[in-house]
Symmetry: C2
Subunit: 138 residues, 2 copies
C-alpha cells in the first residue's frame, strides 16, 4: 500500500496521519496475515512498542483494524477492508493451522449468521477454524 492510500485510510477513520501511524498501516497492509502486536513491533522497529500499542488501540476504537485470536491464543490485528456503518462489515473466516501455526484470512468466505435468542444484540463475529492447512497436509 502506498503512502497516499495509507493517509487516506487514516483520515477516513478520523485518525491524524502521523509518520508512525502511516508506517504501521503500511506494515499491516503488506502482511498477508493478521499480525500480533509483537510482530508489528518487529516490522516497524524504529517505533517504540508503547507507541505501537497506543496506535493499535486508537485504530481499534476507530475501526481501522479489528482483532482476532489465533488458535495459539495470541491476539492478532488486521486492517478492516470495509467499514460502512461503524461495524466491521468484512467479517470473514480465519483459519489457524495447528501444524505450522499460521493464521490465514479466508477473505472469500463470509461468516454464516445464526439466529440469536431474544434480546441479544450483535455487533461483530469472530469465526476461527482450527485445523491443518494445505501446505502442512502433504
Amino acid at each position: 500500500m502506498d503512502e497516499a492510500k495509507s493517509i487516506e485510510m487514516l483520515l477516513e477513520h478520523g485518525i491524524r496521519p502521523t509518520a508512525n501511524r502511516i508506517t504501521m498501516v503500511k506494515a499491516l497492509a503488506l502482511a498477508e496475515h493478521p499480525l500480533t502486536m509483537t510482530e508489528l513491533e518487529d516490522l516497524v522497529d524504529t517505533i517504540d512498542k508503547s507507541n505501537v500499542f497506543r496506535a493499535l488501540s486508537l485504530f481499534r476504537e476507530h475501526h481501522l483494524v479489528h482483532v482476532l485470536q489465533d488458535g495459539a491464543d495470541a491476539v492478532r490485528y488486521e486492517l478492516c477492508h470495509s467499514h460502512e456503518n461503524g461495524h466491521d462489515d468484512d467479517i470473514h473466516v480465519h483459519f489457524y493451522c495447528e501444524r505450522c501455526g499460521q493464521t490465514f484470512c479466508l477473505n472469500e468466505i463470509a461468516v454464516p449468521r445464526v439466529a440469536l435468542p431474544e434480546g441479544y444484540h450483535l455487533h461483530t463475529i469472530n469465526y476461527l477454524i482450527k485445523g491443518v492447512c494445505p501446505k502442512c497436509r502433504d
Copy 2:
C-alpha cells in the same frame, strides 16, 4: 457436579484423577461461564497456579476442556460436553457482552459450517459473537 462424576470424566479422558484435578473439574462444571486460568485459580485457591496451568494443559491435550477467547482477548476454558471421536463435538456459539464483559455459552445454537477451500482440514471451530446481552440492553 459430584465427586464420582468428576472422576469418571477424568478417567474417560485418560487422566489420572488426583484430588486437585477433581477439584478443578468440579469448579469448571459449577461455573456457568467459561473461566480464565486466573478465575479458576481463585476458585481453587489452595492449588498453586503452576499446577492449575499444568492441569489445564493436560485437560486440553486430552480434550476434556476446550479453549476460547472472549471479546476482551482473554483465554477461557470450558468443559467439553461431548467428545465422541477425539474432536470437540459440542462446538457451540459463545456470546461476549461488550458492556458487562461476560461470556455466555449459547449451548442451544450450533456453529454453522462453511465450505472450506480444497486442502484445508477442519479440526474445530471457535464462533464468538460480540455485542450486548439482554441484561445490559435495558
